[in-house]
Symmetry: C3
Subunit: 119 residues, 3 copies
């Protein structure tokens, strides 16, 4: 039940590029579940500007759980945005009815780790 | 002809450390060519201070194209620098004839991806 | 004796997450020893907030030396902290005798590099 990568065990590195606004939830969920992760600010083409790259160490048998946690917190999804208030009427792109926008999304690479060491 | 890495395909991660001043051109060229990349600010010994680390996902058959794009935008090259103006005469390192300096350069690692997932 | 990764040689990528306060010493030690490294600011769960992620390229035969250098500069260790001065008596957590605290620590992943190119 120990999900953390351990010296000498078969470890995978999960590299996940996620949207900035999902990053804090993802880090908390991973940590709560017992996984070790580090994150770096990144930008670019996998997602729009403003993403975060996670490096997660996991024992081979818990990689699926890592993927589930990423999915729960970061998966591409639709969000209904309330119509803008009358005050905003003068702006371009004004709309008077609720709109669906796409948010989130994750690009995930699973990489084999030849040797894992905690020191 | 789809160059982007896809869930379930054989994907490689190309990690490229390039000079800061080549980073914007490289990102644009990769994106125009249909590749997905994310970049992170980095510093250190592969190149002088001030470099950028790219993580590029590519289908196996398009890795050569990624390398070509990196080469075109980042390869180590010589640049002729105009002699300094008389105003600058008082500075140390003054030179009165055109000089060649070395700019650019890239350090590239191609890493096998066990599993690639877009979510 | 050439420790730097070279185009065409069997190269490993050593990814090391270390504490911020050990990062400068590690970079200097690696560079002095002839290794190439780049580092990125990172945060998160491998270590407390404020860590640095190193990406080090090494020929296969010198990976052990990289690990030794990481160990010398970053290994988890105890440090004796002097008792706080009377001025600080009013603070919570005040203690009047020397205390041992744990500092440092490193999480290291060794990853196989399929192809390494300097350009
Ligand atoms: Ni378990
Ligand atoms: Ni094609
Ligand atoms: Ni040697």
């Amino acid at each position: 039940m120990e999900k953390r990568a351990k010296t000498g065990k078969t470890v995978k590195m999960v590299v996940a590029v996620v949207h900035d606004h999902d990053a804090a939830d993802l880090l908390e969920a991973l940590t709560t579940a017992g996984f070790q992760a580090t994150k770096m600010a990144s930008t670019g083409g996998f997602l729009r500007e403003g993403n975060t790259t996670f490096m997660i160490g996991s024992d081979e048998e818990h990689v699926e759980e890592v993927l589930d946690i990423i999915k729960e917190n970061c998966e591409s999804r639709k969000k209904t945005v309330a119509p803008m208030s009358p005050v905003a009427n003068s702006l371009e792109g004004y709309y008077s009815f609720p709109m669906e926008i796409k948010i989130g999304g994750a690009t995930v690479f699973i990489i084999d780790v030849e040797q894992f060491i905690k020191m």
